[in-house]
């Protein structure tokens, strides 16, 4: 299956970006910058302040990828899929929520925090913001950070959607070992099936750019950025 990668967006400890010439994407451990919806949207998002950090990073990277692909504005809902790979998901939100519920017989349990204790809630928020009606789910990604992209490519290959925003999102959690030592943030790309596309190809298990096999998300992002800039 041939495809185009029409947009990219990221939120990492080194900053946010959407593929402009002066931006660099570094996947590394660290603290994410302060995130506000105005960094990603023209008008403030009414619930962004309630999002946990995982949802803020994921939503932000999806928003930047949609804008980078010129798909952020819409009048009719679109059958675009959404797939995120994650390892820890909303574990930090789980912890924050249960600290409100564990004591006082649960009477202090926060419904606002509970709403973000599903790792797929971030995709629901993005689908509402951008009018996306395609398939949507979170897939576990324990290595390489490419599980979300691969799953979205499968959906396109199988005919379940023609276009998808897909990527990876992970933030630290204070209760998980290894926390602070692994990359955190979110990177999403906008994939579009195109029989006439040039270099990108998915053969049902392997993503290639020309003859180069893509083995991890950092490599994918590097090639997407290089390709974008060479076409400008």
């Amino acid at each position: 299956m041939r495809l185009d990668i029409k947009g990219i967006g990221w939120v990492t400890p080194s900053g946010i970006g959407s593929g402009q010439r002066d931006e660099t994407l570094v996947l590394a451990p660290g603290k994410l910058p302060a995130l506000k919806s105005r960094l990603f949207l023209e008008t403030p998002h009414p619930r962004f302040g309630r999002f946990d950090l995982y949802a803020k990073a994921g939503f932000g990277a999806i928003a930047l990828a949609m804008k980078s692909a010129g798909l952020d504005r819409w009048t009719q809902k679109r059958a675009i899929g959404l797939v995120a790979g994650t390892r820890r998901g909303c574990l930090a939100a789980d912890l924050a929520y249960f600290k409100t519920a564990a004591f006082h017989g649960g009477t202090m349990a926060s419904p606002n925090l509970f709403a973000y204790t599903l790792s797929s809630t971030v995709l629901g928020e993005a689908s509402i913001q951008f009018g996306l009606t395609g398939p949507s789910f979170v897939i576990d990604d324990s290595e390489g950070h490419l599980a979300g992209v691969h799953a979205a490519l499968d959906l396109m290959h199988w005919g379940l959607c023609e276009t998808a925003a897909a990527g990876w999102c992970d933030v630290d959690s204070e209760i998980m070992s290894g926390s602070g030592k692994e990359p955190c943030g979110a990177v999403f790309v906008l994939l579009e099936r195109n029989a006439d596309a040039g270099s990108w190809q998915w053969n049902g298990g392997e993503l290639t750019f020309g003859t180069e096999r893509i083995n991890d998300l950092a490599q994918l992002a590097r090639i997407v950025l290089k390709d974008r800039h060479s076409n400008e």
Binding site: F114, T133, G134, F137
Partner: protein, 376 residues
């Protein structure tokens, strides 16, 4: 395209620890919803859930370990090359509860991939392993992905397992959202006032036509069509027009090459919440000129979250085999828009195709069409 057969199934719910027990309980109109014993419910708006009694005792590990053990007890071996999809919303969330209360620091079943590995390692599977999380449509979506792998020739054998626990974590959250019923779960009843939670696990072993022939598998039914679509409407409430569900069902019908009139019955999501059930009735009435018989199992086993799609697909296979659908437990006064096609009694059905649907937080919808086994 390869046909996708279901060749082995297993299920554990509050109604029983195997397929026969669960089917018999559902058919008899029994409910597994009962007062929760594993945590205090005084501060919550309900004290009822569909707990599996054998999981009530406190244990050092996660209740998920025991649930998985119960699910696969006595299961014949699964081929080592089988691809594995698991589906769960909160995995072993009871471990996180204990960690917050400083009762334990073990967190080896909290993440999705840990659950996938628990099952994959137990069964000695060396195929690809994936965990899917998509709210209450998790298992239904895992089934569509597994079926797609077989249909496209990317796997000969796929195991799909859905599972979730009744935990204070989830119970308190739904209580805080005022989504729980104070009294009983009454899907499609005019007086329904909320859902009740349940726990359970189910597996379906899928195989290609070729693998069925080679291994001598008996087909329990075929997964004939599937669809996934989002509402893009509201984060916790379903679209009132049912647009996402309609889209998912139309995709499934198109995939199966069927018309709505070919559907003999529907296994609805039917949570018993005001808005979900209204949305489903709107979608069904939009799609079907004449509604087929439909039902919900959630008044009997509770809402089993990430597991419900797998459990309900197994019930759907049994329904096709027996040519009847179970009573909708809790139903007293059916919604008029249900056109008297939902009942508190067993309903006979006639046909080869059954539609099963699930919808969840974030506006996700998924549907599957099952075809009756030719061997029935």
């Amino acid at each position: 395209m390869n046909a996708v057969h279901v060749v082995d199934i297993g299920v554990v719910t509050a109604l029983g620890r195997n397929v026969d027990a669960v089917w018999d309980g559902l058919s008899a109109g029994r409910t597994g919803l009962a007062p929760v014993r594993r945590f205090a419910t005084d501060g919550y708006i309900s004290n009822l859930a569909g707990c599996i009694p054998a999981l009530d005792a406190e244990r050092p590990d996660s209740r998920l370990d025991t649930l998985v053990q119960m699910l696969f007890d006595g299961t014949r071996s699964v081929p080592a090359d089988t691809m594995l999809f698991t589906a769960t919303t909160k995995a072993g969330i009871d471990q996180l509860e204990r960690s917050v209360r400083k009762q334990s620091t073990a967190l080896d079943k909290v993440l999705g991939h840990q659950v996938t590995d628990l099952i994959g390692d137990r069964l000695g599977l060396n195929g690809a392993r994936r965990n899917i999380s998509a709210a209450c449509a998790s298992a239904t979506i895992a089934l569509t992905l597994g079926a797609s792998c077989i249909e496209q020739g990317e796997a000969e054998s796929v195991l799909v397992c859905g599972m979730d626990l009744v935990s204070e974590f989830v119970f308190s959250g739904f209580s805080a959202l005022h989504a729980l019923s104070e009294s009983s779960c009454r899907p499609f009843d005019v007086n329904r006032d909320g859902l009740l939670l349940g726990e359970g696990a189910a597996f379906l072993l899928l195989a290609s036509e070729r693998r069925c022939r080679q291994a001598g598998h008996r087909s329990l039914g075929r997964i004939a069509g599937w669809g996934i679509a989002s509402d893009a409407h509201h984060i916790t409430a379903p679209s009132r027009t049912g647009e996402g569900l309609i889209l998912a069902i139309r995709q499934a019908l198109g995939h199966a090459g069927l018309a709505p009139a070919d559907i003999a019955a529907v296994s609805a999501h039917g949570t018993g919440s005001v808005y979900n059930d209204a949305m489903e009735l709107t979608a069904f009435n939009t799609l079907f000129d004449s509604l087929p018989p439909f039902h919900s199992v959630k008044g009997a086993v509770g809402h089993t979250m990430g597991a419900c799609g797998a459990i309900e697909t197994i019930v759907a296979l049994c329904s096709l085999e027996h040519q009847c659908i179970p009573p909708t437990v809790g139903l007293q006064t059916p919604e008029p828009s249900g056109q008297a096609r939902v009942s508190s009694e067993v309903q006979a059905i006639s046909g080869n195709y059954l539609l099963t649907t699930n919808s969840g937080f974030g506006g996700v919808n998924a549907s599957i069409i099952l075809q009756r086994s030719a061997e029935s």
